[in-house]
């Protein structure tokens, strides 16, 4: 009981081969698109790599890049095969390659699906990486004289300006770290010394934020200092406070940015996966139809094509038994050709009797 049986006439077979040739070429283009998407994602992640804590999320664009390159190769080979498949003589050339090719393409299509699903599932990992990365970057904001950290101030300022965000979750995160380097603090000033002494860890903390937190939407010049004391500024009402600084946290801003990109990429990859599946089904039908034609002997006759020769359960059993026998190959029990030396040579049984034993 074959799965998905369809009968093909000669012209239908030739038409199928032509259509598949075209679809394979289109798949080469979609493979290139996949490669391009992977490259784009890699560049986007590397742009703000300094504010992400580990490199863990780079495996997604790498997966997309390798899958894209594989798609180009596999589909190019596929187009060559399909072009030859229209003619039974040329098909014989490819006959032995077809089954491995189809199995390979099946696994490759599964990889494309995995790539698409990864794009959607990476959100939680990204959230963690951004939280830790931003916390560290804010801590090292003042270390513009330490090699390896001297550009973190510039990166964080540009990030806050471009994504219109402030701090990790909120602008108040800046109140909890010392973001002014001790090099620029006047330690002879009593106010400074008092503040440093009153802190447990000896840090100079203030209720102010860097200039990059300032919102361009505010109708008044930016208020960066004495933020927890609204009375210190003239006419600093609730509305002014809302518009003064960026309210969003940078973790949320970056998360939204990357999630948006990855969702679009994930959707495109899913569409590409569906297309590849279609091409794979077509190639399978063509392969089975051509093999049946050769089996029937008459190139002009109709032939049947199917996805699986027997039902799904039977095919699964058959494949399992093949895998089992592959494993058994390395065990020595049933093979009559192997001469297993026993302790006494005169106990050797004549070969005819051995054969009878095996066949029963």
């Amino acid at each position: 009981m074959a799965v998905g049986k369809i009968t093909f006439t000669k012209t239908e077979r030739e038409k199928l081969a032509e259509v598949l040739w075209l679809l394979n070429w289109i798949s080469v283009v979609t493979g290139a698109i996949l490669f391009g998407l992977g490259l784009f994602l890699k560049i986007e992640i590397q742009k703000w790599q300094e504010v992400m804590s580990e490199q863990g999320i780079l495996y997604v664009p790498h997966m997309l890049i390798t899958t894209g390159l594989a798609a180009c190769g596999i589909n190019y080979l596929g187009s060559k095969i399909c072009l030859d498949c229209a003619d039974t003589n040329k098909f014989l050339r490819w006959k032995l390659v077809m089954i491995p090719y189809i199995v390979c393409t099946f696994f490759f299509t599964a990889c494309v699906l995995v790539g698409a699903l990864m794009c959607y599932s990476i959100r939680s990992q990204l959230e963690e990486a951004l939280y830790l990365g931003l916390r560290n970057t804010m801590r090292f904001y003042k270390d513009t004289d330490t090699p390896g950290r001297c550009y973190l101030k510039k990166t964080l300022d540009l990030l806050q300006i471009q994504f219109q965000c402030c701090g990790n979750t909120d602008y108040r995160d800046w109140f909890q770290i010392q973001w002014i380097s001790s090099r620029y603090l006047d330690m002879t000033n009593s106010a400074v010394v008092d503040r440093v002494r009153s802190n447990v860890e000896g840090k100079y903390l203030m209720d102010s934020v860097p200039f990059s937190c300032c919102s361009t939407l505010s109708s008044r010049p930016c208020i960066q200092h004495n933020l927890s004391n609204p009375g210190a500024h003239a006419h600093y009402d609730e509305r002014s406070q809302q518009l003064n600084l960026w309210r969003r946290g940078c973790q949320q801003a970056l998360l939204d940015h990357y999630t948006g990109i990855m969702q679009s990429i994930g959707l495109t990859v899913l569409l590409i996966w569906l297309f590849e599946l279609l091409v794979l089904t077509g190639v399978r039908y063509l392969q089975t139809a051509m093999e049946n034609v050769i089996r029937l002997g008459d190139p002009e006759s109709e032939s049947e094509g199917w996805i699986l020769e027997n039902s799904l359960a039977e095919t699964a059993c058959y494949n399992f038994s093949i895998i089992k026998s592959l494993g058994k190959c390395y065990q020595v029990d049933d093979d009559p050709n192997i001469n297993v030396p026993t302790a006494a040579a005169d106990q050797e049984v004549p070969s005819a009797q051995v054969q009878v034993n095996v066949t029963s």
Partner: protein, 339 residues
């Protein structure tokens, strides 16, 4: 003695026609390029029209857009003529128009060259518009409650951050205007009253700049207020401090940006004009080379006579046209006086 005579047999004619058809479609793409350049320039001017006092001239981008559209049309038409030129029946209906078409194309090409020259020249009026607009922009920075000017603060802040500039010529321009609105000044404070009192016009001036002037590359947090007072900040010397705020003036920054755009557009349009001009040469060779009988050889030339003779011919034609008009006038006058 014709100019640049080349012999053509059928194969060569077909090859020439194909090449010229190809070049016509390339020219259509070039026309689309000019159109998109014009659109891009128009959008860039629109984006910052507030800083140019809403006074900027959109003449140049409009000309570029028109030229791009006309180029597309002419070259598509030329391509169609070229495609038909190998079929004598179809070609017969185009043949009478051909000469005028070619002359028209030459004229259009000259216009393209003039446009590219305009691109280089129009920097100068733009310079004046920008200078005026920026000065006013800074004056209206604080007027976020006045309709018509309420977005000036935002526009200026975004511009200073994007172009990495501060003030008109440099950051000291901000010291000369009041950029903090009276709404946000505490008039009961002594310091505010002193400062306003000491100013002739009653303006609140200070040696501070808006936050958008701050340079993120500075190793220390931005010093925006009391910039000329070294003692107000620890380890600070405003004479030697270079990375604190942007040093460049916004007029220079915007000018070099728009100047760059216009130079690039001018160069590209010149390139397009030269490329198209070359293929009109090919066209005259190809179209004049088509005889009635397809199989025979024919001669193709650029001009029927030498350059000098063609020129004298044109002059003679113009003189006869002028004389023809005069004779008619005289005749009419004669008729009038008779009666």
């Amino acid at each position: 003695m014709a100019l640049l005579v080349v012999k053509f047999d059928l194969k060569k004619r077909v090859k020439l026609a194909q090449t010229v058809w190809f070049m016509y479609w390339f020219a259509v793409l070039a026309g689309i390029l000019v159109l998109s350049l014009g659109l891009f320039f128009k959008i860039e001017l629109r984006k910052r029209s507030e800083l140019m006092d809403n006074n900027e001239s959109h003449f140049l981008p409009n000309v570029l857009i028109a030229m791009g559209l006309i180029a597309c049309g002419i070259n598509a038409f030329g391509g169609k003529v070229c495609y038909d030129s190998l079929d004598p029946t179809k070609f017969a209906k185009w043949k009478p128009m051909l000469k005028t078409f070619l002359v028209f194309c030459m004229g259009f090409n000259a216009l393209l060259i003039v446009t590219s020259l305009l691109c280089f020249i129009m920097r100068i009026p733009l310079q004046f518009t920008l200078a005026e607009g920026l000065k006013n922009g800074m004056k209206y920075y604080k007027d976020t409650d006045t309709p018509g000017r309420c977005y000036m603060k935002r526009t200026l802040d975004l511009m200073q951050m994007e172009f990495r500039c501060c003030g008109n010529d440099n950051y000291r321009d901000w010291f000369e205007i009041q950029w903090v609105s009276n709404r946000y000044l505490d008039f009961s404070a002594k310091e505010v009253k002193d400062r306003i009192g000491s100013n002739v016009d009653g303006q609140y001036l200070m040696d501070g700049v808006p936050f958008s002037c701050c340079n993120p590359s500075s190793p220390r947090p931005c010093i925006q207020y009391q910039m000329t007072n070294n003692s107000a900040h620890y380890s600070y010397d405003h004479y030697t401090e270079e990375l604190n705020v942007w040093r460049r003036g916004c007029r220079d920054a915007l000018l070099s940006y728009y100047g760059g755009i216009m130079n690039t557009i001018g160069a590209l349009v010149l390139l397009v004009a030269v490329t198209i001009g070359l293929q009109y040469v090919d066209t005259s060779l190809s179209t004049l080379a088509n005889p009635e009988d397809m199989e025979s050889e024919s001669e193709g030339f650029l001009l029927e006579k030498t350059v000098k003779e063609t020129f004298t011919d044109i002059m003679a034609k113009m003189k006869t046209m002028g004389k023809g008009a005069k004779v008619e006038e005289g005749g009419e006058e004669g008729v009038a006086t008779v009666s």
